[in-house]
C-alpha cells in the first residue's frame, strides 16, 4: 500500500514538474483581415506573439501557402516572456477580390507545434471590366460591342480615356446605367480580315497614380469548315494561324471566296 502510494506521489510530482516547465507561444491574432488601397502593390500582415511559457520556443519552419506571399520571423528563438511578430507580405500583382493566404509555422512547442496563420485581403481594384475581350466573327456585321467598366466608388473617376493599339477599331466612352459605371463602345472598321487590338484605358482620377488598364478587341480569322478534323496534315496550318493573326488563314479548298 505504502509502495503504491509512493509511486502515485512520484507520478504526480513528475507531472507537476512537466507542467511547470513548458513553452507556449500565444498569438494575438492568428487571422488578419486587410483592405489594401487600389494603388497598393503589397498587403502586409503582422502576426504578433508572446512566449507565455517558461522555456524558450524555437521556430522550426515558416512557410507561406503560395509564391505570392513571403513570411519572415524576427527571431529564431523566443525567450520566455519575449514578444515578437511574423510578418507576411502578400504581393497583390494583378489579383482582385478576396484573397486568402496562409502561413504555416512549426515550432518545438510540445503543446502546439504547428499553427496556421491566415491573411485575408479584400482587393477592390480601381476599375473592373466586363468583359475584357470583345470579338467579332469574320464577316459579322461590324456593330459596336460594349465593355462595361465599373469604377471604385472611392476613386471619384470623372472620365476614361480609351485608345486602340491599331486604327482598326474605334472606342467611345459614355456614362453607364449605374453610378460609377462607364460603357465603352468598341467597333471594328471591317470584319473581313483578322485583327487584334489592345485597348488601353486610362482613368482620370485624382486617386490614380498612373495606373493603366487593358482590354482587347478582335476580329476572328475565318472559322475552319465544320467537320474538319485536326489531323497531322492540318496541324501545321492551325499552328501557323495561331502565330500570325494579322494574316487571315486561307479558305479551305472548295469553299466559296468572300
Amino acid at each position: 500500500m505504502n509502495t503504491n502510494f509512493s509511486r502515485l506521489i512520484g507520478v504526480l510530482a513528475l507531472a507537476a514538474l512537466v507542467q511547470s516547465a513548458h513553452a507556449e507561444l500565444k498569438w494575438e491574432q492568428p487571422s488578419v483581415d486587410l483592405r489594401p488601397g487600389f494603388n497598393d502593390k503589397q498587403a502586409v500582415a503582422h502576426f504578433k506573439y508572446e512566449n507565455v511559457g517558461n522555456t524558450p520556443v524555437h521556430f522550426k519552419s515558416v512557410h507561406a501557402s503560395c509564391g505570392c506571399t513571403t513570411a519572415q520571423t524576427q527571431n529564431e528563438q523566443v525567450a520566455p516572456g519575449q514578444k515578437g511578430e511574423i510578418t507576411a507580405t502578400f504581393n497583390i500583382g494583378g489579383r482582385t477580390g478576396t484573397q486568402v493566404k496562409t502561413v504555416t509555422v512549426q515550432t518545438d512547442d510540445p503543446e502546439r507545434s504547428g499553427i496556421v496563420l491566415t491573411l485575408k485581403a479584400v482587393i477592390t481594384p480601381l476599375l473592373e471590366f466586363q468583359p475584357t475581350l470583345v470579338y467579332w466573327q469574320n464577316g459579322e456585321e461590324p456593330k459596336p460591342k460594349i465593355i462595361t467598366a465599373k469604377a471604385n466608388k472611392d476613386a471619384a473617376i470623372k472620365k476614361l480615356d480609351v485608345a486602340s493599339s491599331t486604327p482598326d477599331f474605334t472606342a467611345k466612352v459614355d456614362a453607364g446605367s449605374a453610378p460609377n459605371e462607364f460603357r465603352i463602345s468598341v467597333q471594328p472598321r471591317d470584319t473581313t480580315k483578322a485583327v487584334y487590338a489592345t485597348l488601353t484605358i486610362k482613368p482620370d482620377s485624382p486617386a490614380n497614380t498612373g495606373n493603366m488598364f487593358a482590354a482587347a478587341a478582335r476580329v476572328m480569322p475565318p472559322a475552319p469548315t465544320s467537320g474538319t478534323a485536326i489531323t497531322p496534315s492540318t496541324k501545321a496550318s492551325v499552328s501557323t494561324a495561331r502565330h500570325d493573326l494579322a494574316t487571315p488563314a486561307p479558305p479551305p479548298a472548295g469553299s466559296p471566296s468572300q
Binding site: 500583382g93 466573327q137 487584334y196 478582335r218 472559322a223 492551325v238 502565330h243
Partner: protein
C-alpha cells in the same frame, strides 16, 4: 463483462464526439465541405494531349518556374502580372480552341483561379484545369 466493455466503448465514442462537434462549429469557415474541383472543368493529361494543336496551354505558375521549364508552346499567364500577360493569350485564342491551364501540382490553386477569371472576366469558353498540373506532365514526360 462483455456488456461493460461495450458500454465503455460507447462512452468513449460519445466523449470523442464532444470536442469533434465543438471543433466543427469553431472552424466552420475553415472546413472545406465540398471539393473545390468542379469535375466539368478538370481535364486529364491524356485528354488534353489528344486535343493536339486545338489546345492552348496556359502556365499559371510564377514567372521563375515558367522560365525553368514549361509545357512546349505554353503561354505564361499568372496573377502576378495578369494585366501584362493576358493580351498574349487573347491574341492567340479562337473559338474552336480549348484552353488548358496548369499550375505546379494537384494542390495548387493558381490554375483554378486563372481559369475562373478567363471564363468570368474575358468570357472565354472551353477553359479547363489540368488535373495534377505540372507534376503530372513531368511524370508522363519521363
Amino acid at each position: 463483462m462483455k456488456v461493460s466493455a461495450v458500454r465503455q466503448a460507447l462512452l468513449l465514442i460519445a466523449l470523442a464526439f464532444v470536442p469533434a462537434i465543438g471543433e466543427a462549429i469553431y472552424f466552420r469557415d475553415k472546413v472545406s465541405w465540398q471539393s473545390p474541383d468542379r469535375s466539368s472543368e478538370m481535364v486529364n493529361l491524356d485528354q488534353a494531349q489528344s486535343w493536339g494543336a486545338n489546345a492552348i496551354w496556359v502556365d499559371a505558375r510564377p514567372d521563375n518556374e515558367f522560365e525553368q521549364d514549361h509545357v512546349p508552346g505554353a503561354i505564361p499567364l499568372n496573377e502576378d502580372r495578369w494585366n501584362e500577360l493576358l493580351p498574349t493569350l487573347l491574341a492567340q485564342w479562337s473559338l474552336e480552341k480549348k484552353i488548358v491551364v496548369y499550375c505546379s501540382s494537384q494542390s495548387c490553386n493558381a490554375s483554378r483561379e486563372v481559369a475562373r477569371r478567363l471564363r468570368d472576366e474575358a468570357g472565354l469558353k472551353d477553359v479547363f484545369v489540368l488535373r495534377g498540373g505540372w507534376d503530372e506532365w513531368l511524370k508522363n514526360r519521363r
